[in-house]
């Protein structure tokens, strides 16, 4: 258990900058997820924390100690690899014990440690098998056991679930979360899967092209994305981005969008000063699909809800919800509505949107406004 501090860390290969100054600070027991598409630099950063790659500039500290030039085995970290990297020639027990063996722990102590970890992961019956005789999920467990047995200060996970099938992935995800809750260790976890990031993290660092776009708890990342990139990366189906304009109408500030029957103005409740400055300018209105609902005639709308009408192009039932595609502002927007309220394709229907949960982005900088 430890704190992890990453200070202005950079990585360059020749003239190519892979990481352009990363600053992250983790408290004891935090679960950091590095999230981003392949090539964003998240794995490079993880390898640098592990000591498997050199640091061009900046510093990485564990518990206040700079570890830049310290050999991986002396950093007190453990890592779970995407391919599991189990030693094919060794039994499960020896795989788990290998790190202890290399550190000169005597055999009886190693056996005790292996038993303890095997019990924790419920794999006592697998200890004598070779990796080739294990299923994907079992290998995953062994890989975690190998990390756990060392009781390191920081755990590193490199896309550990991406080689599992969908069902197993969800199970193992829950298992990792339980382990974290039970052990309270500091974890750095790399993934490109936003659901894993949302479910596991205490804080997410979303990366793009070697730069951290946002570093915040999952709910904050979801509700107040720093920019369009973050907003579109998190959430499925993705947030709707509708070209709009901030207008001042009567005594209200609102955004005007092009709907089925001409433009409608959606009033903004409690606009911030930054928004007020943008009156008359184009913006991108960001709306999560679940904040759009079918308008029930005769109901009274709360003040933060706005009403508009739109033509429905396609509906996709997913069981729990029906994804409804609306023509808004010249492009398709998706609403997630209960199956009972779902309109038919081709119909023009009235919808409401919760403007308190909407986001506004600058169309040029793509940053969130206000």
């Amino acid at each position: 258990m430890a704190t992890l501090t990453i200070k202005n860390v950079q990585k360059r290969y020749g003239t190519v900058a892979v990481l352009k100054g990363i600053d992250l600070e983790l408290h004891d027991g935090e679960f950091l997820v590095l999230l981003g598409p392949s090539g964003c630099g998240k794995s490079t950063l993880l390898n640098m924390i592990a000591g498997l790659d050199t640091i061009t500039d900046g510093a990485i500290e564990i518990d206040g100690r700079v570890i830049n030039d310290i050999h991986p085995k002396d950093r007190d970290i453990a890592m779970v690899f995407q391919s599991y990297a189990l030693y094919p020639n060794m039994s499960v027990a020896r795989n788990i014990a290998f790190g202890l063996e290399m550190r000169g722990m005597n055999k009886p102590d190693r056996e005790v440690a292996v038993k303890k970890v095997a019990a924790l992961l419920q794999m006592e019956h697998l200890l004598d098998r070779k990796p080739a005789q294990l299923s994907g999920g079992q290998r995953q467990r062994v890989a975690m056991g190998r990390a756990l047995v060392r009781d390191p200060k920081v755990f590193l996970f490199d896309e550990p679930l991406s080689n599992l099938d969908a069902k197993l992935r969800v199970d193992m995800r829950t298992e990792i979360k339980k382990l974290h809750q039970r052990l309270g260790t500091t974890i750095v976890y790399v993934t490109h899967d936003q659901i894993e990031a949302m479910t596991l993290a205490t804080r997410i660092a979303i990366m793009k092209e070697g730069v951290v776009q946002q570093f915040a708890p999952p709910q904050e990342v979801y509700e107040q994305p720093a920019n369009i990139y973050v907003a579109s990366f998190i959430g499925s189906p993705a947030m709707n981005f509708i070209p709009a304009q901030i207008v001042s109408e009567a005594d209200r500030i609102g955004v005007r969008i092009e709907g089925a029957q001409g433009a409608s103005v959606l009033p903004l409740p409690a606009p911030s000063a930054a928004v007020l400055k943008k009156v008359g300018h184009d913006v991108i209105l960001g709306v999560r699909p679940e904040t759009i609902a079918r308008y029930q005639h005769g109901t009274n709308l709360p003040p933060n809800f706005a009403r508009f009408s739109a033509q429905v192009s396609v509906t996709e039932p997913t069981g729990a919800d029906t994804l409804t595609y609306l023509a808004l502002g010249g492009r398709d927007a998706i609403a997630r509505v209960p199956p009972k309220e779902a309109p038919n394709a081709g119909e023009v229907a009235e919808f409401t949107v919760d403007m308190a949960r909407a986001c506004l982005f600058d169309p040029k900088t793509e940053q969130r406004v206000g």
Binding site: L52, D53, T54
Partner: protein, 291 residues
């Protein structure tokens, strides 16, 4: 992997091999190249005399015979091996029940020394003991098959034995390639109504073209290096009618004390091999990088 200590360990580990290769391959090639420009006879002398030995090399009738033989032997050997190997591979690819056994039989000559192969074929091709005698015994007293001792045809006996030895290997290369062809393409062609021979001729064979290239390069390389087979089968004879460059070099360097001529002929062999190998290696390594 970074750690500088380990990186230097890695270099240290490869160093002995590198040094051996540097001296025993590159150093030796340079030595041979230099000596080919000297007047060395029985013992190497290091006095530079220019291209004299090359001029003399090309004045040897025996060298011309060896080069012509290499051309005849090489082209026939490559062509027949390719045709036979390809044919056998396609036939074996037809869900043959005893495929494993047949493959083993076709390929086993490759495990033999050319000296053994040469000994066996020498006996089979010897007019007094082999095929000729056998057919005559069957009641064809006029039958003649004396290529082995015929100045004009001795080189073709090399082709017979070499094809016997290496065609199974070409078959194995092609078979592996055939198994790698995308089955869906074949099924698509079948659904389009193409017949089996057409599928092979029009789709499968063209798609394994790279293997043809590999096979040609390997066979050409084998042909240039051929030495043992000649020694064991014809001894270069009758006279020197079936000499190949490798045998010429050996003869000059070790039997006739013409070290400079031997070195010059070895350099000519190197040039031949380079002309084949370098473009091939270049394309292979580039391909590997892309993949």
């Amino acid at each position: 992997m970074q750690s500088s200590l380990r990186s230097s360990l890695s270099r240290l580990v490869v160093a002995p091999t590198f040094l051996l290769v540097l001296v025993f391959v590159y150093g030796f090639i340079l030595w041979t190249a230099y000596v080919s420009f000297t007047g060395s006879k029985m013992l190497p002398s290091y006095e530079w005399v220019g291209i004299d030995s090359y001029v003399r090399l090309w004045q040897y009738e025996r060298w011309h015979v060896a080069i012509t033989n290499l051309f005849i032997f090489g082209s026939l050997f490559i062509a027949i091996c390719l045709a036979l190997g390809c044919l056998l591979a396609v036939m074996l690819d037809q869900k043959i029940r005893i495929e494993g056994t047949l493959r083993t039989i076709y390929l086993y000559p490759m495990a033999l020394s050319f000296i053994v192969t040469g000994t066996a074929w020498k006996w089979l091709l010897n007019p007094g003991t082999g095929v000729q005698a056998f057919v005559r015994d069957l009641g064809f007293p006029e039958f003649t098959f004396d290529w082995l001792i015929n100045e004009q045809f001795a080189v073709y006996t090399l082709v017979i034995a070499a094809v016997w030895q290496s065609s199974g290997f070409v078959m194995a290369l092609f078979l592996a390639a055939l198994r790698g062809v995308d089955q869906e393409i074949i099924k698509a062609a079948y659904l389009d109504g193409a017949s089996l021979p057409r599928i092979y001729w029009g789709i499968v064979i063209p798609s394994i073209r790279p293997v043809f290239l590999s096979a040609i390069v390997i066979l050409a390389h084998l042909a240039v290096k051929s030495f043992d087979l000649v020694v064991a089968l014809t001894g270069g004879g009758p006279g020197f009618a079936s000499d190949l460059p490798a045998n010429f070099m050996y003869e000059m360097a070790f039997r006739r004390n013409q070290i400079n001529i031997g070195a010059a002929s070895a350099m000519m062999m190197l040039c031949t091999v380079m002309a084949i190998i370098v473009p091939y290696l270049y394309s292979e390594l580039r391909g590997a990088k892309r993949g």
